[in-house]
């Protein structure tokens, strides 16, 4: 792995169209035939995560571009499992044309999805999958892969930065119990076991939050000091915290995250050993909408559409920023 580079993203699935371009095509809907502006719903785990805030923006963009109707609703579950189930139920009551969902946990919405299936409302899973029930497709990054690639990106930085033959990395995990945490952790472990030069020094939860990550990183520094060769964070908000702790301790080691959050990428300009694996939530949303509409139009849609994570480092940071946040 380790592709990336240009700002254009690829979709591995043949059925998916290029999301970034579709957003620009106002008449794109007509090509799918059928209902031109469906009423849809999108339920996400929590707007606490910038990642989902970007989805919200993409959703609103799609609304104003006329890809979906203005009655479409966006639901924030505030990380509360019952809230998400309620949101799905409400969407069913509102008889949406199809439902997009990023499940807090894959298993937490089993019944809700069952209800949607029973009501013949198509479901598109996005970013976080669901474990049971019928879906049109699953549009997402591969989180295990993201974890592994980001860890390996960190390793490549460490190799470039140092000269030893073994490197000690610490990991900052996301919310305990969340599927992304488990998946990215698995990817991290894969990287550790596949690369002999890579050792896990410590793992602690930063709960996907900047200030928790900051405190934990401070304590890591106290405990391990110079032993730390690099930091892998399961998302970019935590990378910001780790960065701050390292800066305060006058240390400079590679840090990688996941997400491609603007604020983190902006730190790259004066640090060549910072990086992230950008997810492309905007593209996930538009792709999901495309797929849902295609399904309504009776077309076949691939079971999974993987939006490949985009490796962002100092090299391509400014391109990335101007492509996605310009």
């Amino acid at each position: 792995s380790g592709d990336g580079g240009d700002g254009d993203s690829e979709t591995t699935a043949g059925g998916g169209s290029d999301g970034t371009e579709t957003t620009d095509e106002t008449d794109g809907t007509e090509t799918t035939g059928g209902e031109s502006t469906p009423t849809v719903a999108l339920s996400v785990p929590s707007l606490e995560f910038t990642f989902f805030a970007r989805m919200e923006n993409a959703f609103e963009q799609a609304q104003s571009d006329g890809l979906i109707s203005s009655e479409s609703s966006f639901y924030d579950a505030s990380n509360n499992q019952s809230n998400q189930v309620s949101a799905v139920e409400t969407a069913i009551s509102n008889e949406v044309d199809f439902l997009m969902i990023s499940a807090i946990t894959a298993e937490g919405v089993i019944n809700a999805i069952q209800q949607a299936n029973d009501a013949d409302i198509p479901v598109v899973a996005i970013d976080r999958n669901i474990s049971q029930g019928e879906t049109v497709t699953y549009v997402a990054s591969d989180n295990v892969q993201l974890g592994q690639r980001s860890t390996e990106l960190c390793l490549s930085f460490m190799e470039a930065n140092g000269d030893g033959d073994s490197y000690d990395v610490v990991q900052l995990e996301g919310t305990p119990g969340a599927s992304v945490t488990n998946d990215r952790g698995e990817g991290f472990q894969n990287a550790v076991s596949e690369n002999d030069s890579l050792n896990q020094l410590a793992t602690q939860t930063g709960e996907f939050s900047t200030q928790n990550a900051l405190s934990v990183m401070e304590d890591f520094i106290t405990q391990y000091g110079d032993e730390i060769d690099g930091v892998f964070c399961q998302n970019d908000l935590m990378a910001l915290g780790a960065h701050q702790a390292l800066r305060n301790a006058n240390m400079s080691v590679p840090v990688t995250g996941i997400d491609g959050t603007e604020a983190w990428v902006e730190q790259f300009s004066d640090n060549e050993y910072y990086g992230t694996l950008a997810q492309l939530p905007e593209e996930m949303v538009t792709t999901a909408i495309e797929s849902g509409k295609a399904h309504l139009a009776g077309e076949d849609v691939e079971d999974t559409i993987t939006i490949e994570g985009l490796e962002v480092t100092q090299d391509n940071a400014s391109d990335y920023l101007s492509d996605y946040f310009g």
Binding site: Y75, S82, E89, N111
Partner: protein, 326 residues
């Protein structure tokens, strides 16, 4: 006791209605408003949804009404709910901590409820015996239960639960969702307990004036302990029915469930400092929270608008409640 004069001397007027008549104004107002604003709001289907959506919080709210009436608090309910649900699930399926040692469903359920009762007993004992404020003991139990939940579940969701478990919270009986039936049964039993048993009477006496109650010969320690055991047990029941509602056991299923049940109790007119309130009030409080969210969801109000609307409407609803009392 340091209650203001103004609220004291009207009690006679509204007799026991004081905490029922008041809060209901806010609820009725919400119903009128949402009925006018949205056609689907007052449909049977949607009202059934609302009931289902509030049931888990409702069960926890009923449970925590006991300690609150007794001038105690229980901060551990969300985590106890989680660990109890996870215990039932892992035991029944024979997964994770109990890999390969599945037990019959009734025993799994009993174990789950016992876990809830046991946690309540721990905080209750330390509070009643040593006079440690329940705020602190239940906070400690919050951590304990959260940790145990991670251990029991290995941090991962559990699926494939036997129907005999998921039916408790996820089936229909006499055309009503079973979870709603569980909620209402517990509500009725609890109100009867409060109104017609010595235990109920003592809760009010202790909540009103602990020292006087003690001097009048009440076994204060037993009652304080009892209220916390009840709230732990009810939290466990909430965990059990959640399995049916979600269709799985998820290690994060308690997230965001600390404040709403307690808020519902206070919204229902109970005094946070003990001695007044009842289960009908709690029901109304639960419904206000549930209807508010459901109505805003139906209207498709976006996340930030929803928060602002919730804040404003909540403020108005409590104002209506309080002026309804006076």
């Amino acid at each position: 006791m340091s209650q203001s004069v103004a609220s004291g001397y009207r009690n006679r007027f509204t007799v026991s209605a004081i905490s029922q008549y008041g809060p209901i104004i806010g609820l009725v107002g919400l119903y009128v408003a949402f009925s006018l604003l949205n056609d689907r709001f007052l449909t049977v289907g949607n009202q059934m949804n609302v009931l289902q959506q509030v049931s888990i919080i409702g069960i926890m709210a009923i449970g925590v009404t006991f300690p609150i009436l007794c001038a105690e608090i229980d901060l551990s309910i969300a985590q106890v709910m989680e660990v109890a649900g996870l215990t039932v699930a892992t035991l029944a399926v024979g997964a994770r901590l109990f890999e390969g040692s599945a037990v019959p469903v009734p025993i799994a359920i009993l174990a789950g409820l016992s876990v809830g009762a046991a946690f309540g007993a721990v905080s209750g004992y330390v509070t009643a015996r040593f006079g440690v404020p329940s705020f602190m003991t239940t906070l400690a139990v919050l951590f304990l239960a959260d940790g145990l939940g991670l251990i029991v579940s290995g941090n991962r969701p559990i699926i494939g639960l036997p129907e005999s478990i998921t039916n408790i919270g996820g089936s229909r009986l006499f055309g009503l969702p079973s979870i709603v039936l569980v909620f209402f049964s517990l509500l009725v039993v609890s109100q009867l307990m409060l109104s017609y048993t010595k235990f109920g009477q003592y809760i009010y006496a202790i909540g009103g004036d602990r020292q006087s109650a003690e001097r009048m010969g009440i076994n204060v320690a037993a009652v304080r302990l009892g209220t916390l055991v009840i709230s732990g047990t009810f939290a466990a029941v909430a965990g059990l029915v959640t399995l049916g509602r979600l269709g799985s056991a998820v290690p994060t299923m308690g997230a965001g469930l600390l404040l709403p049940p307690i808020a519902a109790v206070i919204l229902g007119g109970a005094d946070l400092f003990g001695g007044s309130g009842n289960m009908v009030g709690t029901l109304i409080g639960v419904l206000i929270l549930g209807v508010l969210q459901n109505g805003l969801n139906l209207m498709g109000v976006g996340p930030s608008g929803q928060l602002v609307a919730q804040g404003i409407v909540l403020m108005l609803a409590v104002l209506a409640n309080v002026s309804g009392e006076n």
